[in-house]
């Protein structure tokens, strides 16, 4: 509870800066309007105008909040939570490809890590490719994944999920290789003196040892997955999803819509990463490994 005050202080500072920046960035347009109307603005009129424009360069926090409420809470109240104008609907679309991509990416990452740890050839050959895969800008490769998959008749959720997977398997591979190799030489020797099989060593020693590493990786993978899902919606002319919302907003100069989609994406990421943090705490506590 003692951390509340510092957090609130930072939040307050951000709001002050945000409002100030809104005044600075939007005042040119306000002055322009006044000039054409042949009037001049007092300081308080100027501030009021910069905080209430329709298409401001930087919308003020309360404008974004109103827009978010209009597209979430108010829609729910009207019983239209899943209408196309609702951010809940768009978040759901993005979430479903994030989740699928995350599951696929985690699966692929763990599988590759096991291969790398247990197979010398894979150890030598796979890791450079894994790293190379991440040096390609995702924006460059995303449209191609969509086009290629479309050509073979796969469309809808899966292509977007593949892009999420592409981004999210990497931290899992790196974390799990480290985690599966974390048991001390002594512990492996001990397994050897008990004549434990390779699978016993894996299930009873390597896998439990890797848990703290896995969860750290999963948090990064989840955030990367969300980025992948949003990026996957951008170049494809998708009509639904937070990425589509961002794109539509930028076409029509709807900065308020862009910002509300951004805040929604950030909230979604925070919730998903927080969820993994919770599972981590519960798991490590049940394993007796929590501090």
């Amino acid at each position: 509870m003692r951390s509340i005050l510092p957090i609130l202080t930072v939040v307050a500072a951000i709001f002050v800066l945000w409002y100030a920046a809104a005044v600075g960035l939007n005042s040119a347009w306000a002055q322009d309007k006044a000039k054409r109307a042949g009037t001049s603005l007092t300081f308080s009129e100027l501030v009021a105008d910069t905080w209430s424009q329709d298409k401001p360069k930087l919308p003020a926090p309360h404008q974004v909040a109103q827009e978010i409420w209009k597209t979430t809470g108010a829609m729910v109240a009207k019983g239209r939570a899943f209408s196309k104008r609702s951010l809940i609907y768009h978040s759901w679309i993005t979430f479903s490809s994030t989740a699928l991509g995350f599951v696929l990416g985690t699966g692929l990452g763990v599988a590759l890590a096991i291969g790398i740890v247990y197979n010398r050839t894979m150890d030598m050959s796979v890791m450079p490719w894994v790293i190379a895969s991440q040096t390609i800008p995702i924006l460059a490769i995303a449209p191609m994944i969509i086009v290629v998959l479309n050509a073979v008749g796969v469309s809808g959720l899966l292509p977007k999920a593949m892009i999420s997977m592409y981004l999210s398997f990497f931290p899992v591979v790196v974390g799990m290789v480290k985690g599966l190799r974390s048991p001390a030489m002594m512990q492996l020797d001990q397994m050897h003196t008990w004549n434990a099989s390779a699978s016993q060593t894996f299930w009873k020693l390597r896998l439990p040892s890797s848990m703290p590493y896995l969860f750290t990786s999963l948090k990064i993978a989840m955030a990367a997955s969300l980025v992948g899902a949003i990026v996957g919606e951008l170049p494809t002319g998708a009509v639904a999803g937070l990425g589509a919302r961002l794109l539509a907003g930028s076409y029509y100069g709807q900065t308020i819509q862009i910002w509300s989609a951004l805040i929604m994406a950030a909230t979604l990421a925070a919730v998903l990463v927080g969820l993994i943090g919770m599972i981590q705490r519960i798991t490590l506590k049940r394993m007796g490994m929590a501090q």
Binding site: M186, M191, H192, W194, N195, K204, P208, M211, M287, M289
Partner: protein
């Protein structure tokens, strides 16, 4: 009856700085039920020899048999309980869970596992601690738990690599006494690596003095002390005489380097 027989055993490690002769022409016979200590300065190969016995290292030349088999065959038959320098308990398992680990691996039945855990916890004076996690126990208790783990299955050879090295003198004395008691009750053959002369003399029926570069045996001392050993036996002239001979052996090993 001999349990372990090493003949002309040598082991050379290939390192980046060239070959290192870790063991050179080691000949040693260990009889059933003996308590053998290996003592010597760092680099004398005492730990390496213990690891060769447990088939954790393969000798470059010479031979070693354990219960009439090769060391690796003996390992497959689960002939060893090995206690390392650090307790090495799994932090995600309780003390009972840690002791069960080798039993699970070796396929003992659930009921048998429970019964064995109870028994060995009593043996090392830890009954009632089964449900604690390792971090809730002191260093000495953790090391006792790791000894219990090595005793839980039916290995007739117990190999211990400086198990009490990291513990203070008082705890060490206590554990030494308990270990002798344990040995008397279980009749296991014990190989014990140590840095401490009093510890070696107090515990052993046979003391193997080793010296480094190359790692070799310089003296094997058969103890004349009785099997029944209270702690104050360490003040008797007989004890001091054996300790003196060990010290002489260690010094001789150093002199010709």
């Amino acid at each position: 009856m001999s349990v372990i027989e090493a003949r002309d055993l040598s082991l050379v490690f290939q390192t980046n700085d060239g070959p290192v002769q870790a063991l050179s022409n080691v000949n040693l016979t260990i009889g059933k039920g003996e308590f053998v200590s290996f003592i010597g300065p760092s680099g004398c190969g005492k730990t390496t020899f213990l690891r060769v016995m447990a088939a954790l290292e393969t000798p470059t030349s010479g031979s070693i048999t354990v219960n009439g088999m090769t060391a690796d065959e003996a390992r497959r038959k689960r002939a060893y309980g090995y206690v390392f320098q650090a307790a090495g308990l799994y932090p995600w398992r309780t003390i009972a869970g840690n002791i069960k680990l080798p039993l699970e691996i070796m396929g003992y039945s659930k009921a048998d596992q429970e019964e064995r855990v109870e028994r060995v916890l009593k043996l090392v004076d830890l009954d009632g601690f089964g449900r604690k996690f390792p971090w809730q126990l002191s260093g000495g208790m953790q090391q006792r738990a790791s000894i219990a783990r090595a005793l839980a299955f039916d290995a007739d050879i117990l190999l211990m690599d400086e198990p009490f090295g990291a513990l203070d003198e008082i705890v060490r004395d206590h554990l030494n006494e308990q270990l002798l008691d344990l040995w008397a009750r279980t009749e296991k053959t014990i190989g014990f690596v140590t840095h401490s002369i009093p510890e070696a003399v107090y515990l052993s029926t046979k003391i193997v003095v080793m010296s480094p570069r190359p790692g070799r045996i310089t003296d094997v001392i058969e103890s004349t002390l009785p099997r029944e050993r209270p702690l104050d036996i360490r003040d008797t002239p007989e004890f001091l005489e054996i300790a003196h001979r060990v010290r002489e052996g260690l010094r001789a090993g150093h002199a010709d380097v």
